[in-house]
């Protein structure tokens, strides 16, 4: 038996969240006394996959097929199912992404495997197997038992720390035999901002709300985000008003984030927004309204004018980095 980790690749680069998934898989493999196999789909540029050993992988299956360079939901599922069968995998570990839930669902049915998504920590194994997971959109935690022999876990960001093992993974090519309908859906176009730090991957998120008064005022937030190496987010009203694109909307019906640091600027802190950010390690709220509910949910607060404060913060961060 083994633990299989599905590794996601964006623009030829391995996603950091997938490295966390490998480290999570390694923690399970240690308890089960077995090995961790990472399945890497598509073309990789400028990275030696044996380096995944440092994060806990014993072996890498590289499914080099160029067809896997696009986000083919079914094709990825097929690749995973074949890898699980060939490696006799009893666990599939995936990092939370726009693909992980839907691929996991397909694999769950095919492998008759229980699945838990939004997993927030390591499992408890004592007769039963259970994991903690985030529920009610970040408002609560649940402990869920998985009762099948084969199990699938979708883990969210920061569920586990990255390992730094002194080992190299063995890299093997892995050929997939696709079914006719694996590419039945055609991807006609992809619109993607280039060079941005992805919100779901970011260790720091800078988010703006209606308090910034208009889309023209986002430059100062972008400057701060750039200085911090942060991803950009926004509140629901800002995305509804189309000041910012929908994929930046953080909250109950938007993206849920769990970075090390979340900085909210001009966001009042409605319960729906807080639900999407509450599992951030450290929260900073900057708002001119001293009664803004965000101050109750934050670790640090500044009550004042964002237009004066943000440029000074950017300057201070730049000074620090130099």
């Amino acid at each position: 038996m083994s633990v299989l980790v599905f590794v996601e690749v964006a623009d030829g680069q391995i996603k950091k969240s997938s490295l966390e998934a490998i480290s999570y898989g390694a923690a399970i493999a240690e308890k089960a006394n077995t090995q961790v196999i990472a399945l890497v789909p598509g073309t990789i540029s400028g990275y030696d996959l044996s380096g995944l050993g440092a994060y806990g992988a014993d072996k890498v299956l590289h499914a080099e097929d160029e067809k896997l360079n696009t986000q083919g939901i079914r094709a990825f599922g097929t690749a995973i199912i074949q890898a699980m069968k060939s490696a006799d995998a009893k666990f599939l570990i995936m990092a939370k992404s726009s693909l992980s839930d839907i691929i996991g669902a397909r694999v769950s049915v095919e492998m008759q495997a229980a699945i838990a998504t939004n997993v927030s920590g390591l499992p408890e194994i004592n007769g039963t197997f259970s994991v903690p997971r985030s529920i009610y959109t970040g408002k609560a935690f649940g402990r869920v038992e998985l009762s099948t022999e084969c199990k699938i876990l979708g883990i969210r960001k920061n569920a586990v720390s990255l390992r730094n093992d002194d080992k190299k993974a063995i890299v093997e090519k892995f050929a997939i035999s696709f079914a006719d309908n694996d590419f039945a859906a055609s991807i006609t176009n992809v619109e993607k901002a280039d060079g941005d730090i992805l919100l779901t991957e970011a260790e720091i998120v800078v988010s703006g709300g209606r308090g910034l008064k208009g889309p023209e005022n986002w430059q100062m937030l972008e400057d701060l985000a750039k200085a911090l190496g942060a991803g950009m987010g926004c509140s629901k009203p800002v995305s509804d008003l189309e000041w910012r694109p929908h994929h930046e909307h953080v909250g109950q019906t938007g993206v849920k984030v769990s970075p090390n640091l979340y900085i909210a600027v001009g966001i009042s802190g409605a319960i729906q927004h807080l639900a999407g950010v509450s599992s951030s390690k450290v929260i900073v709220a900057i708002n001119k309204d001293e009664d803004a509910p965000f101050f109750k949910a934050a670790d640090y607060g500044i009550c004042g004018d964002a237009f004066e404060i943000i440029p000074r913060l950017t300057k201070a961060v730049k000074a620090l980095k130099n």
């Binding site: 986000q71 838990a116 109750k296 640090y300 913060l313 961060v317 620090l320």
Partner: protein, 245 residues
């Protein structure tokens, strides 16, 4: 066009969640229940597609009798008839099995639901239903149109959108801004009372997961307020105290 729309019955997004003292179940006292917000987007889009192309919209819920007001609301918004599977929806596999059983051999062109429910946030029911029925699944779908018998969709991906084309039948997990939420009008509310709502027993009892315990996150400590005339102190605290920079 024949559309099946699956809805969840969940606490309102503004709810403060509480559990019973033993941590075994949700304390429903004082909670308002609504159609899952993502399901509500899918429903609104289904009604728009029916208005544009003709056909029927059937609403399906897996839930106990207490979900009926929520189902009636979906009928008031524009669904034609409803089916309720009389069971607690505590496991994704179980719920997907019920939906697949209802949909099997019924010729639905589209099976739509939200990308996830906002109680357990599993996000896997649509994908499971599709696989159980041998169909393709797409999620999170933020735009869906039917043009010349083809389904044109946009899926939200990290940092952008992916546009897709596929053939019916298919299953989609939906999210905003696929449509604007619809508020039922008086006529809708009146007609919803007499629209058919069929109750069926669960067809398969298998469950693969059990939530055995619930808890709230530990309370946050008090906020540390920083003098707005010296915002640089924030950066210093983030470095030295919080150690996140």
């Amino acid at each position: 066009m024949k559309i099946l729309i699956c809805i969840s019955h969940v606490p309102d997004t503004t709810s403060r969640i509480k559990f019973t003292a033993d941590g075994k179940q949700l304390d429903k006292q004082g909670l308002q229940f609504i159609i899952g917000p993502y399901d509500d987007y899918a429903l609104a889009r289904a009604v728009e597609l029916k208005e544009a192309h003709g056909g029927t919209v059937t609403v399906l819920n897996v839930g106990t009798a207490e979900t009926e007001p929520t189902i009636r609301k979906a009928l008031a918004i524009g669904a034609d008839n409803a089916i309720r599977i009389d069971a607690e929806p505590t496991d994704s596999w179980f719920v997907a099995r019920q939906i697949a059983e209802v949909a099997k051999d019924q010729g639905y062109d589209l099976i739509l639901m939200g990308r996830e429910s906002i109680d357990f946030n599993g996000g896997v029911v649509h994908g499971m239903v599709a696989e159980m029925l041998g169909l393709q699944a797409f999620s999170p779908v933020m735009m869906l149109d039917v043009v010349d018998g083809k389904v044109k969709m946009a899926r939200e991906i990290e940092g952008g959108k992916e546009y897709l084309e596929a053939t019916m039948p298919l299953v989609a997990g939906c999210q905003e801004p696929i449509a604007e939420w619809k508020i039922p009008n008086m006529r809708g509310i009146m007609t919803a009372r007499t629209k058919p709502l069929e109750v069926r027993a669960a067809s398969d009892e298998t469950k693969l997961t059990t939530h055995v315990h619930f808890e709230l996150p530990p309370p946050k400590g008090a906020v540390v307020m920083i003098d707005p005339s010296n915002p640089e102190e924030l950066i210093q605290k983030l470095v030295e105290e919080a150690k996140v920079l």
